[in-house]
Amino acid sequence: MLIAVNALIDKPEEYRGMYVVLLMLFYAIELYADFTGGIDITIGVAEALGITLKENFERPYFSKNIEEYWRRWHITMGTWFRDYIFYPLSISDFMQKLSKKSREKLGPKLGKKIPVYLATIIVWFATGIWHGASWNFIVWGLLNGFVIIISQELSPLYEKFHNRFPKIGGNFFYRGFTVMRTFWLMCALRLLDCYRDVPLTFGMFGSIFTTFNGKILFDGSISQLGLEIHDYIIILLGCALMLTVSLISRKKPARERLDAMPFPVRSALCLLLFLAILVFGAYGTGYDASQFIYNQF
């Protein structure tokens, strides 16, 4: 996926409109597979040495809102920022005083929120800086913070709506809509990580609504991005596998299900996986194993 992602990022003047949508999708796949794959390797190696590490991803692309997303994505980073920045900041003397003053000036309802939202902005600013000391990461962090704040502000409205229409909340298609909404929202925010330039990112995002080139999905243009059709098929199969494992893991972890299978079946599945990695893996001449995206962090 990296090949296509880099092709799309390297020539923004050429790859606008639908290409930006493709970039959002491709980068989402690349980032998740890269990051969760690296973490799985770490967890596996640690377990082989008798050390149990916590999971760092809990099916984040199944999240229905941004808060849920950040509870499922890079869990250790989220909990670290919560435990070492958000909470200490929230209960600090400065925030206590600010809370008191804002309640006096703005009333109890709004005044109560100011310190929380300020702490949220500070945490997300820090999260952005953690990713890199550059404007694109800072803006990315702040945007995450603002979206969370807006989401919290709108939550009474959502509650009213669901109380008014209780059947909608449990509806499969509505849940699917919330998952897709969150997915694409996070993809859009991640464009700042792709282009690494704030004005360019906003310009490229805007081109989705001004450049209408949907036909690139059907006229073979996507095979000009450095990947052939068979590569996309393998990626699709890989995504299907990740999706399947995620779906079956909702009720019971996939590893526990695997352990419960008869030995020959378990062995055959593991063999197939091993051969798939051996044959389709991105390693060897022309690949750099240290190109894990999060290697730079």
Binding site: L275, G281, G284
Partner: protein, 357 residues
């Protein structure tokens, strides 16, 4: 107890299936070198030999295109094999010789000295053509370590699937057809080309700033000479008759000096072309198929006839034509040789060029 036995059987069976699947997948994805780049199949073909050889040729394409073991057999009863490869480097020649000595001890080793000009690993592609076919052994490991370019890794030569795994989207019918067994592409290491393409003119050779042959090459030539001496093998140095690449006089002088100093025979066959009867230039009957870089079939037969005669005049070498076992083997080899010759001549007559070779 029964449960434990059952468990052990399951585990052993699972390991066998895993190992089998791994090696079958590797076998499928490795290049077969049957339709394209047939030179890649040369190294491995040696291991199918059932008889020993009096003469082993080692070196680059100037040996496997220029010498015909069938001619040496038919005219002199000399058994020979050419362990040649495209751009075979001298350290590869040395290790292929070591590899050969694991199976037999020839009386003569003939080494083409063109590779003395390459002091460093050149390319992965040529390394693969030479080394992939070597049987895995400590000798192969040493050959690979001496040959690897910066980007290469030893593990990919031990488990080639680590290099060729991405061929899954380039699999051709030959990968399935030759999964279990390959066809022979050479005649005791000789690749036959019956077509004719005469030489034209080559640009004047550019003078070099430094004609000193690399120290690494001298080291390996010393090792080759020592290995031959240790095994009572006569090492003969040659420069095969090819018009290009250029073989500078200054290089030749160094080889002459080395040979004299070490009591080795050296023939520069480029100087003997008239004597051999090699003609590079006649439009219909030239002895080259690629404008003078390599000899064609007729050139190779002439050269082999000359070289065989030279060997017999200068050394005691057994004529095995009366040995029924060896004769039977070479009778089959000759039949294959002439069948291919006939087929190539038919294609040339029908199409004006070789289509299948």
């Amino acid at each position: 107890m029964k449960r434990n036995i059952k468990r052990i059987i399951f585990v052993v069976a699972a390991v066998a299936v895993w190992v089998g699947a791994f090696f079958m997948t590797q076998r499928l994805l490795e290049p077969k070198y049957m339709d394209d780049l047939i030179e890649g199949a040369l190294t491995a073909e040696y291991y199918d030999e059932t008889t020993k050889h009096d003469v082993i040729f080692i070196g680059d394409c100037e040996v496997y295109e220029n010498f015909s073991p069938v001619t040496l057999w038919e005219n002199y009863g000399i058994t020979s094999y050419i362990r040649g490869n495209a751009q075979q480097l001298i350290w590869q020649s040395y290790y292929l010789l070591e590899d050969t000595l694991r199976y037999e001890k020839p009386e003569f080793v003939v080494f083409n000295v063109l590779s003395m000009k390459y002091g460093e690993p050149q390319s992965e592609e040529y390394n693969r053509l030479t080394l992939d076919g070597m049987e895995l052994s400590p000798v192969k490991i040493k050959a690979v370590e001496a040959s690897m370019t910066e980007d290469e890794e030893l593990i990919t030569y031990i488990f080639p699937i680590l290099r060729y795994h991405s061929r899954w989207n380039q699999l051709k019918s030959e990968d399935f057809e030759y999964f279990f067994k390959k066809d022979k592409i050479s005649h005791n290491g000789f690749i036959m080309r019956a077509d004719v393409r005469p030489a034209t003119t080559f640009p004047e050779p550019e003078p070099l700033a430094d004609y000193t042959l690399p120290a690494t090459c001298w080291e390996y030539l010393d090792k080759m000479a020592a290995l031959c001496k240790e095994n009572d093998i006569e090492l003969i140095l040659i420069k095969a008759p090819s018009l290009y690449p250029v073989w500078y006089d200054q290089w030749d002088e160094q080889i002459v000096e080395y040979a004299q100093k070490n009591g080795l025979a050296y023939i520069n066959l480029l100087d003997k072309c008239d004597e051999i009867g090699i003609d590079f230039y006649s439009p219909e009957t030239a002895d080259t198929y690629d404008r003078g870089l390599h000899l064609n079939l007729s050139g190779a037969e002439k050269l082999s006839n000359y070289f065989g005669g030279w060997l017999c005049s200068n050394y005691q070498i057994t004529d095995h034509r009366n040995d029924p076992d060896i004769s039977a083997v070479y009778s089959e080899k000759s039949a294959d040789y002439y069948a291919m010759k006939e087929d190539q001549l038919r294609e040339l007559s029908e199409f004006g060029e070789l289509k299948s070779y």
